[in-house]
């Protein structure tokens, strides 16, 4: 596919496959088109040329996306549970049904948020906030999860914890995952494959173990 804003192509002739249950790390410095790729996958941007094909159309309609940041300050009032529930879409009723409550609680358990479920999200730590964002993205059992530099603001320990959780949920739910990052050691620990994007619009893919040092230096 090729994607652009105006006349300049941000991504040119990129071609890659993502298998069911695969954990792909997309790496590359700022400005190589990682966000553009994500926006195209989410359907917020139509590719200029080429197509994005999903094996099942329903996958495209239900992609879990965890953005880098959300600017929620410490005054942010609603609880972790309420924040996760915002993404409920099984019904249009103004109230939350019993089934929906059970669904929210099961995701909260899966993402280790039970202890802070009734605390305001604004008072949660950076790692807890990211877990809440993850829980919200996972609420509708997506077949594809995209983490957009979601670990950038976390310290080393929290990064590991979040990725470990993502890997666990990914395996439990047989979900594919795309992890956009600058953090090569983290990617090596958890991803199956990598896609390296460069400013020269060259794209290389392969098993994460084969990512060599000279290529990594480009990041």
């Amino acid at each position: 596919m090729t994607a652009s804003y105006g006349p300049t192509n941000i991504i040119k002739d990129l071609n890659f496959n993502l298998a069911e249950g695969e954990f792909l790390a997309i790496i590359g410095e700022n400005g190589v088109g990682k966000t553009t790729l994500v926006r195209s996958l989410l359907g917020m941007l139509t590719p200029k040329a080429g197509t994005i094909k999903f094996t099942d159309h329903s996958i495209a309609k239900n992609i879990g996306y965890v953005p880098q940041s959300r600017n929620l300050d410490e005054e942010y009032p609603i609880t972790v549970k309420d924040f996760v529930s915002l993404n409920l879409r099984d019904s249009k009723l103004p109230w939350v049904t019993a089934n929906e409550k059970a669904k929210v609680w099961s995701i909260i358990e899966q993402t280790n948020l039970t202890k802070i479920a009734d605390r305001p999200l604004g008072q949660a730590s950076g790692g807890e906030k990211q877990r809440a964002y993850l829980a919200q993205a996972l609420l509708n059992s997506p077949k594809l999860l995209i983490l957009d530099e979601s670990t950038a603001s976390l310290d080393v320990e929290m990064k590991q914890e979040l990725l470990k959780l993502v890997a666990k949920v990914q395996q439990e739910n047989k979900m594919s995952a795309i992890f956009i990052t600058h953090d090569l050691p983290l990617a090596r620990n958890y991803a199956d494959n990598y896609l390296l994007m460069t400013k020269q619009q060259e794209y290389t893919m392969g098993p994460i173990a084969s990512l060599n040092v000279s290529e990594s230096e480009k990041v």
Binding site: M44, R70, I78, F83, L86
Partner: protein
């Protein structure tokens, strides 16, 4: 006190106004639109003055101005109106227009006072019906778009990536806000619109932490303030708006103290 028609009218209209303001206020605060609300109130003042000038009821002029301006401004307005300079300019223009229309119409001083400070005690049965019907429209539309409005107001980033059309929600919300501002101005006046549209919601978020309970408590604060205000106004002959303002500020201060003590 309830044997008087004007008091029954005031209480019925006041209750409906308090309910919609308490409900809308939660979204106003979450969307960071307190100042835009104030600007809408000033646009409403100009509209009411225009209504008087044309010989219409003040509420009709207000509705015309606020709904038209919010529909036209839409998403663009939500973004740009947050900038203080734009707010100052728009407020200045509409206050100026309001003053012009008032001076061009007859009996200027009395009508200016009632538009700016509210006059719930003087509300007629026809006006009560108008308030009730408009309030029911606001409540129904808000309930219909409740989930999407909630998502967009409390997590606009998440709402966008999950396919919610923020522009449509913003415009629909602005129109509902315009209706609420025009209706609420009947009781507290356009100068004091903050009292019912932002204070109860701002107080509620200190006490409870889910959207539904915030709405319930915010409505509770708004209704309690309105009832007490109207009652105290009846017994003392002092302005209702003064009492409502004082009561809502007390709720807000208790929220602040409660929050600090925890």
């Amino acid at each position: 006190m309830l044997s008087f028609d004007f008091m029954r009218h005031a209480l019925v209209a006041g209750t409906f106004i308090a309910v919609i303001c308490g409900m809308m206020g939660v979204f106003v605060i979450a969307r960071g639109m307190s100042f835009l609300t104030h600007t809408l109130a000033e646009i409403g003042f100009a509209g009411a003055a225009f209504g008087l000038f044309m010989g219409w009821p003040a509420l009709n002029g207000m509705l015309l101005f606020t709904v038209l301006s919010s529909a036209m401004v839409g998403e663009l307005g939500v973004r740009s109106a947050r900038r203080e300079n734009v707010i100052s300019a728009v407020s200045a223009l509409f206050l100026g227009l309001g003053i012009l229309f008032i001076s061009l119409s007859d009996n200027s001083a009395a009508s200016a006072t009632s538009i700016l400070f509210g006059s719930v005690i003087g509300i007629s049965l026809g006006e009560v019906w108008q308030v009730v019907i408009l309030s029911i429209i606001v409540i129904l539309v808000t309930l219909l778009m409740y989930r999407q409005l909630k998502f967009d107001s409390f997590d606009s980033v998440g709402a966008r990536v999950n396919g919610i059309n923020g522009t449509v929600i913003s415009i629909a919300f602005l129109i509902m806000l315009a209706l609420s501002v025009s209706v609420a101005a009947q009781i507290v006046g356009s100068l004091l619109i903050f009292i019912l549209l932002t204070l109860p919601a701002a107080s509620a978020r200190y006490f409870v932490h889910s959207v539904s309970s915030m709405i319930a408590l915010s409505i509770g604060f708004a209704v309690a303030g309105t009832w007490l205000g109207i009652t105290l106004g009846y017994f003392t002959n002092w302005p209702t708006s003064f009492f409502i303002a004082t009561i809502e500020v007390i709720f807000y201060l208790s929220g602040l103290i409660w929050n600090k003590k925890r």
